[in-house]
């Protein structure tokens, strides 16, 4: 799965990310599901609380981690596709 630069991504309705002091880790709460996200997912989901273009997300991460955008784009694409399939993240495709 690949994303167009202007695809707008956002955390899906009914999904909440929080820190769990009992397990001492981040947890992702969704309808009938509890997931334990990896640090990269946490970073991405934190940035997608409000809708954001794929390009913008990648640029933000590239700046933060001081890495080339193309590399970041490749890394997050798979993760995003997975989050999308699980309906943790939603994409709003922009009409041309």
């Amino acid at each position: 799965m690949s994303f167009a630069p202007e695809d707008r991504l956002v955390v899906a309705r009914g999904v909440r990310l929080r820190f769990d002091p009992v397990r001492n880790c981040n947890v992702l709460l969704a309808p009938e599901r509890v997931l334990f996200p990896c640090p990269t997912s946490v970073e991405i989901l934190g940035r997608l609380a409000e809708p954001r273009a794929f390009r913008e997300l990648v640029e933000g991460l590239a700046a933060e981690f001081d890495a080339p955008s193309e590399e970041i784009a490749r890394d997050v694409e798979d993760l995003l596709a997975d989050l999308l399939a699980q309906r943790i993240v939603r994409v709003e495709r922009r009409p041309l």
Binding site: A12, G14, R23, V27, L29, P31, E32, V34, R87
Partner: protein
């Protein structure tokens, strides 16, 4: 036999199923509530539920399922939801959606409700009324679903399927799309409590089951991430049993309307277990140390073929309540498992029931009708 003393269980529970009341306007013949229902006078008061939520959050519970009966019949539901939100618990309302006004729903949303799961008994108005035993139910449910979406709350449509509505499964999928649901849960009846009493009236044939598997597969392929479809197969026709409630005392706590705490909502069928009450014992002790929760943890209680089976850490030998209900022995291998020596006999029984004309429903009522 007496269970040996054991170390307290340190893993935290994930979910708490709060059965706020057994009262319900519907009378589904597959209701998972016990045959002997708790009356209103014995329901826990608001303050006790609030305390239970605090204890649950401290213990590590992350999700709260507000269930029943019909949980919206509790006038203190907003207060309970608000407390859950304050404790950062994810709250899920499991409702039949027939007597809930948009105003009420709005108040629940404002209190911080996270998700709504609406049961739809059938996509056909007449069928919906007949299964739920409530006139005009479908129109009310649809209006409710629209209100949920108007308020921007995520919606799951819950379709409990059986021989009377399985042939309309495609239309359940269409309905979920029309209503803008985020998720569709297609759950074959699990045969406990009222459903077991109505098994002959509900059990699908093998070909109905096979068709439902194909319908769900096709819908998933066609819809992709537009609609998440969860599918629960009827356990009688499965090869291996389900890990009931993710294993006894491993993931879920059930609190009954009167405050008794159980590892699963059917656990009361197992004789000899004493279910502690939240009015008398701390939830932490109940979860970590009470004999009822410790009873089927680990693998020592198992018989063959489970004891030496490689799958025992996956399904924990299946469901203890089913072993009890069908074989009279809560330690036996769940007869839904093809490795159980009793499997063929139980299967033949179910298949014969499915092939015969369905008997009348025995509706779920507060006043149990003598069998």
């Amino acid at each position: 036999m007496s269970a040996p003393a054991r170390e307290p269980w340190r893993e935290p529970p994930i979910g708490l199923l709060a059965e706020l009341t057994h009262r319900c306007p519907l009378a589904c013949p597959y209701c998972s509530n016990p045959l002997e229902l708790t009356r209103r006078e014995r329901e826990l008061p608001t303050a006790s539920w609030e305390r239970v939520l605090e204890e649950a959050a401290e213990l590590g519970v992350l999700q709260l399922h507000l269930s029943g009966g019909e949980p919206t019949l509790r006038s203190d539901l907003e207060a309970i939801v608000a407390r859950a939100r304050a404790l950062e618990l994810y709250s899920n309302l499991i409702t039949a959606g027939v007597g809930v006004s948009e105003r009420r729903l709005e108040a629940l949303a404002e209190a911080g409700l996270d998700h709504v799961q609406l049961s739809v008994q059938d996509v056909d108005a007449e069928g919906c009324d007949r299964i739920g035993g409530f006139e005009g139910s479908l129109a009310r449910k649809l209006a409710f679903a629209k209100a949920v979406r108007r308020l921007g709350l995520p919606l799951t449509l819950n379709a409990v399927v059986h021989r009377h509505n399985l042939d309309r499964l495609e239309r359940f999928v269409e309905l979920a799309l029309e209503l803008g649901a985020d998720r569709l849960e297609v759950a074959h009846v699990q045969y406990y409590g009222w459903a077991l009493a109505n098994r002959a009236a509900l059990m699908p044939t093998r070909s109905q089951l096979d068709r439902s598997v194909a319908v769900v597969k096709a819908a998933r392929e066609r819809l992709g991430d537009r609609l998440l479809i969860d599918f629960v197969v009827p356990d009688y026709y499965a090869t291996h049993p389900k890990p009931c409630a993710s294993g006894w005392g491993r993931a879920v706590i059930v609190v009954a309307p009167d405050g008794r705490v159980l590892p699963c909502h059917a656990a009361h069928v197992i004789p000899g277990l004493v279910f502690p009450n939240v009015e008398e014992k701390p939830l932490r002790w109940i979860w970590q140390e009470s004999p009822a929760f410790q009873r089927f943890r680990g693998f020592d209680w198992m018989q063959e073929p489970c004891r030496s089976c490689a799958r025992r850490e996956i399904d924990f030998g299946g469901c203890r309540c089913q072993a009890m209900q069908l074989l009279g022995d809560p330690e036996a291998t769940d007869p839904a498992c093809t490795l159980s020596p009793e499997h063929a006999r139980i299967m033949a029984l179910a298949e014969a029931e499915a092939a015969a004309p369905p008997p009348a429903f025995r509706y779920r009522r507060l006043e149990p009708v003598p069998a």
